[in-house]
């Protein structure tokens, strides 16, 4: 176990070096190799991915050189602006869904445990509080008690839930719900689907079917496909998002479980690659814990990781 103790010691070293997080980092005296290495590690620690980290470092090095900056402190704003700018270049970033054409369908998709049902419940509560007419569809007919979970959310928020039994056809549930939303002139229809790992072919086909049915019935302009993404997830979620996007076009992202420790840095890569806006962030299990995503806050938070192992 000598290696472990060695590891622990070196981790301790890292902790002492890092206790001040990014503000301390940018207060370094000059641009030495340590500064750049540390900055890169900070980005990696935020799950932004190695490619993005390396690219950002290159960019900042160029900036420092061309603008003849002397201290890292002068670079801090450039850094935050770069990330904010990149995110804001995506249409709809941090904005609410547009309710131009109603009923608007929010089709919630994502891997297991990302927080789809909870996000569906929060969105329902939000729209209900805005005085909108909301219907939810329990198209997660696979996971045990998923229908019950959504029904409880429906009771809490006073929203009608369209459901059939466990194991029924999710596309049929979605179809029924659309008919109900249409005839009752609802503003929003939220369709909760089963979690699926993106490499499961059959489940992805099932998702395609739900999307096809809704798109045909309601028209693509009324359909928002919302990818629900857990902010503690790592590099695999980029592959995840891309696979989902290849199956059915993802049009929005909700970042869940976004507390002060998880950074959700992967959304940068995903938003850049798919050009899809992150609209909301979810925090906690309370019905009101849903906020609009704020790119500048996100960029700052990314740099405030306290790297204490």
């Amino acid at each position: 176990m000598a290696f472990f103790s060695k590891l622990k010691n070196s981790l301790k070293g890292v902790r002492e070096k890092w206790s001040g997080g990014i503000s301390k980092l940018f207060s370094a005296k000059n641009f030495d190799a340590d500064f750049w290495d540390n900055l890169e590690e900070q980005l990696i620690a935020g799950d932004t991915g190695l490619d993005f980290a390396e690219e950002t470092i290159e960019f900042l090095k160029d900036e420092a050189k061309s603008k003849k900056l002397k201290t890292p402190a002068e670079l801090k704003n450039i850094f935050v602006e770069k990330i904010t700018g990149e995110l804001n270049s995506v249409n709809g970033m941090g904005k609410s869904f547009e309710l131009n054409k109603t009923p608007l369908i929010l089709l919630m998709i994502g891997v297991n445990g990302s927080g789809k049902t909870t996000s569906a419940g929060k969105l329902a509560t939000m729209y209900k509080n805005q005085g909108k007419k909301v219907i939810m569809a329990a198209s997660d007919t696979f996971r045990a008690a998923a229908v019950e979970q959504l029904k409880i959310w429906g009771e809490r928020s006073g929203v009608r839930v369209i459901a059939q039994g466990q194991g029924s056809d999710p596309a049929a549930v979605a179809f029924d719900a659309w008919k109900a939303a249409e005839s009752s002139k609802a503003d929003v229809l939220i369709v909760d689907t089963a979690g699926r790992l993106h490499d499961k072919h059959n489940l992805m086909e099932e998702l395609k079917k739900i999307h096809r049915v809704l798109s045909r019935e309601a028209g693509p302009e009324r359909l928002e496909t919302v990818l629900v993404l857990d902010s503690v997830l790592g590099q695999n979620s980029v592959a995840q998002a891309e696979t989902f996007n290849n199956i059915i076009p993802v049009s929005s992202i909700i970042l869940t479980k976004y507390d002060n420790t998880s950074k959700g840095g992967v959304v940068i890569s995903i938003a850049r690659k798919l050009r899809v806006p992150v609209r909301y962030i979810g925090l906690g299990e309370g019905a009101e814990d849903l906020n609009n995503f704020a790119p500048s806050e996100f960029a700052n938070a990314l740099m405030e990781t306290e790297i204490n192992p």
């Binding site: 290696f3 070196s10 891997v111 029904k151 995840q240 906690g284």
Partner: protein, 444 residues
């Protein structure tokens, strides 16, 4: 083995030409690739750093530098060090004095509830486990556990309606277990975003009523760099005794597990590999190391074959010699392959299969196997032993009986003839080959 990294390394080394001896700079270039692999697999960056230092030390030795297969040597060092870092897999702690209490903890959405039932199912063969719903916060979490437990025929204890007191549930579970002779109690606790005061108190109070022998953290294999920090705080609070890694049936490489093990020293005990409640495997460091480095899961495949009870003499080599090979033998083979489980999952375990041009796990058609089985099952014993007698009217009858078409029957028979020829040419104990591929639905 570990092809992905080896390929990258040989690409690095091929740039160097035939200088013979590797320099420090060459090693640096190679180690950058190793680092990249680790970070792409979500290994904690601090752990990756230390790991690289360790590999560098070994790679800088003269014998490696002068070796003509330096890329393989370095890849092997990486593999060995990864296994060393993950430690040995350890069995579940079972208390000599029942009941054994197992506490399941973890972040929200990591898969605690499903894993609780999976674990109980594993224990069912030698114990009488009870699963207890202590997650009163997430709507319908209690129902979820109840339904899963009922389907798996496992005893369940949950709160009375409208009870929001976890401790009351735990006390009730203790009584229930006593009365029903449950010798293992598994507590499914509520998921957390992060460690808070409330959780600490709750878990401490639970431990006072039912002191856990095994405290397990359920970790999502898709987790990123935050994994170590969160596992560390759980460990500080609970003194964890084991980890269970979930969602390993996806394509996440699960590097976060390596880092958790390295930093906390808590062993990974099981791995969740599917949605069904029987999809839980004993964790293997070798397998995990291969996965992190992007190689196939050879060992997992071997184990699956063993677990399915397929042994070498199930089909006698003689049966595969041209003379005795008939449709009966083929049916036997189909049945054995079926026992291994879903074909798409198996395909993912075969190293290099993903690299075959135009092949994807999606192409594996489980129905082809089922269809072919049905066709043979619709034949009389005489037909199975002597397929030559199957002419037009028999083919029609078989097609109708198996719900297929004459064309499909023809296809199977043609493939059978091909295989028979193949076995004739090969030695009596060789198996498999091109013909098999299409029969199992691989080729298209």
């Amino acid at each position: 083995m570990f092809d992905a990294l080896k390929e990258k390394l040989s690409a690095v080394f091929s740039k160097l030409g035939s200088k013979g001896k590797l320099s420090e700079a060459d090693i640096d270039a190679a180690l950058r690739e190793v680092r990249r692999s680790l970070l792409e697999a979500d290994v904690d960056f601090r752990v990756a750093k230390d790991f690289i230092a360790k590999v560098r030390e070994r790679a800088s030795q003269a014998e490696v530098l002068e070796s003509i297969t330096a890329n393989e040597r370095i890849a092997a060092i990486v593999y060995e060090e990864l296994i060393a870092l993950m430690g040995k897999s350890e069995p579940l702690i079972i208390s000599p004095k029942p009941p054994t209490v197992i506490l399941m903890a973890g972040l929200q959405g990591s898969g605690k509830t499903t894993t609780t039932v999976k674990l109980a199912r594993q224990l069912k063969s030698s114990h009488n486990p009870l699963v207890v719903a202590c997650d009163l916060r997430r709507p319908a979490a209690v129902e979820q556990l109840k339904i899963l437990a009922e389907n798996a025929k496992i005893s369940f204890y949950g709160p009375e309606k409208n009870n929001q007191d976890v401790l009351e549930v735990v006390r009730g579970a203790k009584k229930f277990a006593d009365a029903h002779m449950n010798d293992v109690i598994i507590l499914d606790t509520a998921g957390r975003l992060h460690i808070d005061e409330e959780l600490m108190t709750e878990l401490k109070e639970i431990a006072e009523i039912l002191p856990p022998h095994e405290k397990i953290l359920v970790v999502d294999s898709m987790m990123g760099q935050e994994a170590v920090n969160s596992a560390k705080s759980f460990h500080e609070l609970l003194s964890l005794t084991g980890l269970i890694l979930t969602k390993l049936d996806g394509d996440a490489r699960g590097g976060s597990a390596l880092a958790i093990r390295a930093v906390t020293g808590v062993p990974v005990k099981f791995a969740g590999v599917g949605e069904n409640t029987d999809a839980l495997e004993i964790f293997s460091p070798e397998r995990m190391a291969g996965r992190i480095m992007g190689m196939g899961d050879v060992q997992g495949l071997v184990e699956k074959v063993k677990a399915a009870g397929i042994n070498e003499d199930a089909i006698k080599p003689a049966e595969l010699s041209g003379k005795q090979f008939n449709l009966e033998t083929l049916l036997k083979q189909f049945e054995q392959i079926e026992k291994l489980g879903p074909l798409d999952k198996l395909a993912g375990m075969i190293p290099g299969l993903d690299k075959i041009k135009n092949f994807s796990a999606e192409d594996v058609d489980a129905n082809a196997l089922k269809r072919n089985k049905a066709i043979i099952q619709s034949m009389t014993p005489a037909e199975r032993h002597n397929p030559r007698i199957i002419k037009g009217s028999r083919r029609r009858r078989i097609a109708e009986g198996s719900g297929t078409s004459v064309q499909m029957v023809n296809q199977l028979l043609a493939q059978y003839e091909q295989m028979k020829k193949m076995f004739k040419t090969f030695s009596s104990n060789s198996r498999g080959g091109k013909g098999l591929k299409s029969l199992f639905g691989f080729g298209r």
